[in-house]
Amino acid sequence: MYRGSKEIEEKGRVDWFTVAIYLLFVVLGWFNIYAASFDLENAISIFDLSGRAGMQLIWMITSLLLAFSLLKIDTSFYETYAFAFYIAGIALLLVTLLVAPDINGSRSWLVLGPVRLQPAEFMKFIIALTIARIFNVYSFRLMERKNLMLIIAVILLPFLLVVLQSETGTALVYLSFVFVLYREGLPGGILFMGVAAILYFVLAVRFSDIQMGLLSAGELAAVVLIVVSAAVMVWNYMKRIRVSFAIIGMGLIALAAGRMLLFLKVPVNPGLIALIVLGMVSLYLGYLAVRFRKKTYLYILLFVLGSFAFIESSEYVFNNVLQPHQQMRIKVTLGMEKDLRGSGYHVGQSKIAIGSGGMFGKGFLNGTQTKLKYVPEQDTDFIFCTIGEEWGFAGSALILILFGVFILRLISLAERQTTVFGRVYGYGVLSIFLFHLLVNIGMVIGIMPVIGIPLPFFSYGGSSLWGFTILLFIFLRIDKGRKRI
């Protein structure tokens, strides 16, 4: 653990580049909030406190004060009190759950007189700190069961509490810490399984309506994917290329047989053939496991069977576990439904607004779609619409690139940390921003399902701006105090 002397720390400098981008984002965000909440009938000044832009100004000023005070606090403070923060945060979430009034179906706001705070926003940096603190033990090994359990618990506890507050979007943000874990030694296989699970789910749901024999088209595609994955896994972990070829061969023989039967005008059941191939691959893997006494074959067999079970259950889960509005959002994103009045309304209008911007946009305060409230939540979650409509492709692409630069800068900052604490926290910050950006902008331009989370620094809201400011500036403080080599 690093205990730097006062003198060395004083020499360290704040990364002014990141601060500059931060300030740029916040000011641009402020202008866009003014544009998004601009009312044609009674236009008010950007400084008018009765408007959202005026309020945002207050949040900005307080955020800056907050940022500079955070820079004054010693790094060791965050390390020392990380767990305390965590306990306080969980307690606050519990209290919120109990006392919060119902605001638009969400029970996540603590109302303190004129100020409304969303504790879930602040939980982001607390979890990041806590995970960093847990990692910051000499020869910490993530894959030890005790450690892994602890980490999972640290993430899942606030996740569940926030889900109970009906803020599913924010809760999902906490899951982005998986990226941190990957950076810190989580096997790629687990990440691969996560990706595979999403892929299976999408395939099974998207193509569930085309039936091909025993299986639907989606399930069929997923089975093909399983067989190929199994072959690749054998090759990757066992270095047994012949086994891989044998598995692929089974599939190809089945395919050829199917073609032949079709040629002989015998009715073919593609689903049945796929199931037979899957069964044969499973039997072969089981045989290998017994024959060579290798656990890896067993794991691959488990992956194959587990994948198939997951596919079979995912349609059921989609139809029976998810809420109708969630089903609808997923269907709209997958292009299965065009529901411009209901669930697709948000995205439809947001795409119209962005699309109407053209190359250079309509100019500041000239956006008709956002002014006239066609896009809901346009100064909070859908603020990117205003950018798209008023600044066009040029403006919105520039913002995207700026965010890209911001993310790259965060990666380089995280990588130059000399302490595990700093690095893990850095990656925590990084994953949160990345998740927010990808999901929020993806949702606004219609390539992600609608998940209500804000666009960092741009969306209106005190809690989120404070939350992001704290998240970023604690990292900048840690970076400033790092030991130079």
């Binding site: 044609l40 009938e41 119209i352 607004a353 190359m359 002014k371 006239l372 409230k373 902008i441």
Partner: protein, 617 residues
């Protein structure tokens, strides 16, 4: 990852124009500003058609809090059930696709002034209720419905043909309202408003920089004299037929009576569809303007034109005599004729309406091989003249749905006779306006005007002045008939003789008015002969030309002549002479409703409703 996002942005913003179009129709509400439709005056400046405000009750459902439905119903004089019915109609998105609870929706249309006043007084009690002003056509006289036409909501075809119109616009559907639609309607203005997601208006786009003010419709002054028109309709009540009168010097139509007709005011307001249906189902077809769309064999009224052609072609002279022995001798006394002196020349032939004379004339023309190579050549020359005299084609009057009548071509006869070796005797009945010949009353009166003018005419028209613009030059060009004026003098002398001591003695109004005329009794397949008359007066300085057709009215002298007498009197003297009062009453009371219209209708449905609608003067 960022590449995927930029690509999606590029696709949305640069490659897909539909989003931009969507955005415009989303946000811009182009509110039409409706101009006042032009008013219509008669030739003496009497206001005939004007606009009166009508009131629609509009409802904004979102604003209807603490609404006293009972009081509202009482005010509008409807019961609760009607209220609920109207409300369901309004909210039914299938019937009213533009329904929104945030914007004013039409609840009940066309309140009259009293209902409006009552509601206006209590309006403060009914939040969410608004009154929208519209204008509605108003008619000062129950006359000339067929000339004026009516106005109704624009239909799909019209909208497809002319992008000016949008759903809900009102457009002229017949008569002047249709033919002068572009004058009367004016130019719609537009106000570009910004509309929010709930359809509420949020203000003007660019402070109205792109707005356009509406241009009011153009007022029209008709050449019709409303008093004369009303009088004609009075005389023609319970008859089927037409009276058209023209000022020969200008081609202005003074009156255009088509009977039966209808009161134009019944085709406005709430009862439009019901009344229209009734008119449409009326067996006497009151929606047909018989003055321009009724086609009749002209009978003997055709004879003056024949005389003119024969004179012009040098077939006969004023001293050419033909014999008549109760019929046309070469064809064994057919077509028949009535007793008169024989042989005779053109002037007495016109006066007595001798059939044989004109049959001889036509035969002499078509058989003349020194002048023409063949019968067909001769016939085509004849046809050219008859067309120059205004028959066979539409006169081009400024009213829609005119018919052109029928003047056969030589080809027609060749086809029908299956040989080109036909001769004058095969087609002899056209000489006396029978056979294949069909004319409209407006063609007949136009011909009378040509005679009155001694050889020229102007296209007949009903619109005399377009306020702020000249009338179409088509109506101000003098057109020649191609017949020398001196031949007209002879024809006129014949027509004057007909009035003095010939077939139409009953129209003789000497010494007050010297009329020239020609009767017609046209045989037709629908029963009794049609009674026809054409003429003009005064003889030396013609002020008016007239054509009268009374369907199935028997001899020309029986009905058409007395009606023409009264009409000319009314036109030139302003009122009816004491001695003709009895005649006036007799003619007005006479009922001649041809059976041919009725026969296909079940008993009890004699459809006299609309005829009774023609109000007595």
């Amino acid at each position: 990852m960022i590449v995927v996002y930029v690509v999606q942005l590029f696709d949305l913003q640069i490659l897909s124009p539909e989003y931009r179009n969507f955005a415009d129709s989303n946000a811009f509400f182009r509110k039409a500003l409706y101009p006042a439709r032009g008013s219509i005056y008669d030739r003496n400046g009497e206001l005939v058609v004007y606009n009166q405000p009508a009131y629609d009750v509009m409802m904004v459902v979102r604003e209807m809090k603490q609404f006293d439905t009972l009081d509202f119903c009482n005010t509008l004089n409807i019961d609760k059930a009607t209220f609920l019915h109207l409300e369901t109609e309004m909210k039914d998105r299938r019937k009213n696709p533009g329904y929104s609870s945030y914007t004013p929706q039409l609840f009940m249309s066309q309140l009259d002034v009293e209902e409006y006043a009552l509601l206006q007084e209590k309006l403060y009690k009914f939040p969410g209720i608004y009154i929208q002003n519209r204008t509605e056509r108003q008619y000062k006289y129950p006359n000339m419905g067929l000339i004026l036409g009516y106005v109704a909501e624009v239909d799909k075809n019209k909208m497809a043909a002319d992008p000016y119109y949008v759903r809900g616009d009102y457009v002229g559907k017949s008569g002047i309202e249709l033919s002068h639609e572009e004058d009367l309607r004016g130019e719609k203005g537009v106000e570009i408003l910004l509309r929010d997601a709930h359809g509420r208006v949020q203000g003007k786009y660019c402070d109205g920089e792109f707005d356009r003010m509406p241009v009011s419709g153009r007022d029209l002054t008709l050449s019709i004299d409303i008093r004369l028109q009303a009088y004609g309709e009075y005389l023609m009540q319970n008859k089927v037929g037409s009276i058209v009168m023209i000022e020969p010097k200008t081609g202005e139509i003074l009156c255009m009576v088509a009977a039966p007709s209808y009161d134009p005011s019944i085709l406005t307001g709430k009862n439009f569809s019901q009344n229209y249906l009734q008119l449409e189902q009326d067996p006497y077809k009151p929606l047909i303007n018989r003055s321009i769309a009724g086609t009749y064999p002209p009978g003997s009224t055709f004879k003056p034109s024949q005389g003119l052609i024969f004179l012009q072609e040098g077939i006969i002279s004023s001293q050419t005599y033909y014999g008549c022995y109760g019929g046309y001798p070469p064809l064994g006394g057919r077509p028949g004729c009535h007793p008169h002196a024989s042989p005779l020349n053109l002037q007495p032939a016109l006066a007595t309406s001798c059939n044989s004379f004109f049959c001889y004339g036509l035969n002499a023309m078509l058989s003349n091989r020194t002048k023409y190579n063949s019968t067909i050549d001769a016939f085509e020359v004849w046809r050219e003249h008859i067309i120059d005299l205004g028959f066979g084609y539409k006169t081009g009057v400024d009213l829609p749905s005119e018919k052109k009548g029928y003047i056969p071509t030589s080809k027609f006869y060749t086809n029908v006779k299956k040989t080109d070796r036909w001769n004058a005797h095969n087609i002899i009945s056209i000489a006396i306006g029978q056979g294949e010949i069909l004319t409209t009353p407006i063609q007949l009166v136009n011909f009378a005007a040509i005679v009155a003018n001694r050889g020229y005419y102007y296209k007949p028209h009903v619109v005399k002045v377009r306020k702020g613009a000249p009338i179409d030059t088509a109506y101000t060009i003098r057109r020649e008939s191609g017949i020398n004026p001196e031949y007209f003098d002879l024809t006129i002398a014949g027509m004057a003789d007909a009035v003095m001591h010939g077939t139409c003695r009953r129209i003789n109004m000497e010494p007050h008015i010297s009329v020239c005329g020609k009767t017609g009794t046209s045989q037709n397949p629908h029963g009794e002969d049609h009674s026809l008359f054409i003429g003009f007066a005064p003889k030396n300085d013609p002020q008016v030309a007239i054509a009268v057709v009374v369907e199935n009215g028997g001899y020309g002298a029986t009905n058409a002549v007395p009606i023409a007498r009264l009409m000319i009197q009314k036109c030139l003297m302003g009122e009816i002479m004491e001695q003709d009062r009895q005649l006036e009453k007799t003619m007005a009371d006479r009922v001649i409703l041809p059976y041919s219209y009725r026969r296909s209708f079940p008993p009890g449905r004699n459809g006299l409703i609309s005829i009774e609608n023609v109000q007595r003067q």
